[in-house]
Symmetry: C2
Subunit: 357 residues, 2 copies
């Protein structure tokens, strides 16, 4: 029986998770699949109850699961804690310990939501790109130093990669491009960083194994511009950890509806992790207005990538589409421009998806 | 007599510089100022003629000048050269040798150009922000290593700052905020980087000296989103070198008219450097269609910051406004939506500004 570790986390995490689990239940019934689903504490909730953001038992259970579904972590309550004991540390710990070296973020503009963006509809209509971000290396995990000098403190963070680490994420970029539109944008800062120059060399060498893939090197600053100027030029974007952090958030915001965007973190082991890209939104937690669709779509990614239930995944995606087409919107998606909008709460939105299924 | 070193550089650099120098000449006459203006080779042009992107004589003359006006450097012709000998190296050399620790990039949306952006007019109309980027530290100038290990090459780049380096740029942020709208956004990645945590502490300590300034800490990934969601929330943004590189390009693109945006790089010594933020645009070089306004506005910044000729600077800015109001547009700014647009070449645009002056 496939094992799913559910980590609701903080803020709106628990409420949106409830809706995703309703969807999972229906899918299980329809496909005659039994999933073992267990919830574990993480983030601020875990700090409050167990004294640390990623308790050992949570980590242990995640390691023994096939997939992890995470809500969101963090909130102002824990913002003044030192780096090591903050809720976000749980994310970094899970990434490292579960060896999740890749983060996949599909950025898709839904036609009925094209008006939600601050970008003009003609620029974003039809955007369907995928950012692949390296997740367990780079400046996130390099050495840090802090020493006293005559000029005061001198502090450093190190961006470091082995060839192996770069190769596996770049390969994933090529493989994914082959399954999509055979277009790969590799983002680096090769005019400055030595690591980017090695990265670029690996891309060029590997490109020979994928002659069908059209490869483009884009400098990170230029990519930040191009995403705004003409996002449709991109299909698969592959990049290192920090650049991926910045660019995937920028790309997500293009859609104007980050409440819609799922993500998958996949690694060298069996277990993978799925989570919405939005945060814990403590300001609206408990009000019943949070958008559960990103978590539901993360569940769809889980069914596809971890359990090869492609049909079920597509079914969920289509159900979401359907509900949006029918005019239902949680508060984050509602624009007063469109008259037919039906304002919908968290639970109602989950119920609507379940109904369509 | 104030000395100006002019570095036209590559691509469209020389053509746009001609127009800026026409404007300087008129201003000199009007204000009875004599400027000593000398041109020196830089970038790809210097590589072709003198074997290096920043010849010693160019650097020497810049060091002895009051201000440097730069066109643009780089182009495909020199893209395959190794890092150390590329045209861009000249920029880094000038920044380091002239000790230009700060890069100021005003991002202003001109009303007549509000349609040029891919962002909706209501989101960007009235945007008037300033990105202050640290320019001589961080991962741009830290140690780089490349060693062989059993996992192949292991490569690293180091992001390093002294407290002193951070203090002076942050202080500039506060001082500038005091002269503008007393709002400062400090961008970092304090949830990951040790350097960002020291940075944030310095900001918080210095904030006590500027009780009138409203300070906001923004994580770099969130800033990349907020710039798209609601750029008007920002006034002065201060950040480290690499984040500034990415965010200032993103912010510039919001306007849809990077052909309009100037920059100033100011340091600890007398000499400062001014340049448009756009590149050398080799694809349109020599066609007489490049937009000279960013270079002309960079000249205006020079008059203001290096020569305290505020009135002359304002006069140039108003002349540019005037020409745009009258419907004149270079190709990069022309939208076929507006009927009254008068397509204008590089030289004609320069002439128009001179006429208004
Ligand atoms: C919370 C933070 C550490 C994290 C990151 O920077 O990776 C977040 O921004 C993300 O993108 O998942
Ligand atoms: C050309 C390059 C080295 C430079 C930089 O990264 O600083 C450029 O992008 C800039 O912003 O001036």
């Amino acid at each position: 029986m496939p094992k799913i570790a559910v980590l609701p986390g903080d803020g709106i995490g628990p409420e949106i998770m409830v809706e995703a689990l309703k969807v999972l239940k229906v899918i299980g019934e329809q496909y005659h699949m039994l999933f073992e689903v267990n919830e574990y504490p993480v983030g601020g909730y875990a700090i409050d109850h167990f004294g640390e953001p990623l308790p050992d038992t949570t980590l242990e259970h995640c390691l023994q699961s096939d997939a992890v579904l995470l809500g969101a972590v963090g909130g102002p309550k824990w913002d003044d804690l030192p780096g090591e004991s903050r809720p976000e540390k749980a994310l970094l710990g899970l990434r490292k310990e579960l060896k999740l070296f890749s983060n996949l973020r599909p950025v898709k503009v839904y036609d009925p939501l094209v008006e939600a963006s601050t970008i003009k509809p003609e620029v974003i209509q039809g955007v369907d790109l995928l950012v692949i971000r390296e997740l367990t290396g780079g400046i996130y995990f390099g050495e840090r130093t802090k020493v006293m000098t005559e000029k005061g403190i001198k502090v450093s963070d190190t961006l470091t990669y082995t060839e192996e680490e770069m190769e596996r994420i770049i390969r994933l970029g090529f493989e994914t491009a082959m399954k999509r539109n055979k277009k790969l944008a590799s983002v680096d800062k090769a005019n400055i960083l030595e690591s980017s120059r090695v990265w670029r060399k690996i891309v060029n060498t590997m490109a020979k194994e994928y002659p069908e893939v059209e490869v483009q090197h884009v400098l990170v600053d230029n990519c930040a511009m191009q995403l705004i100027r003409n996002p449709k030029q991109f299909d698969v974007i592959v990049t290192e950890n920090m650049f991926g952090d910045i660019l995937s958030d920028e790309a997500a915001m293009l859609t104007g509806s980050i409440g819609m965007l799922p993500s998958a973190s996949i690694g060298t082991e069996k277990v993978a992790m799925y989570e919405p890209i939005h945060g814990s939104a403590p300001d609206i937690a408990g009000l019943g207005i949070a958008n559960p669709l990103a978590t539901i779509l993360s569940l769809a990614m889980m069914l596809k990538y971890s359990f090869h239930m492609n049909e079920a995944a597509t079914q969920i995606e289509q159900a979401v589409d359907h509900v949006l087409q029918a005019g239902y919107r949680t508060k984050d998606l509602a624009t007063n421009k469109i008259e037919s909008t039906k304002l919908t709460g968290t639970k109602e939105m989950g119920d609507l998806v379940v109904q369509v299924l």
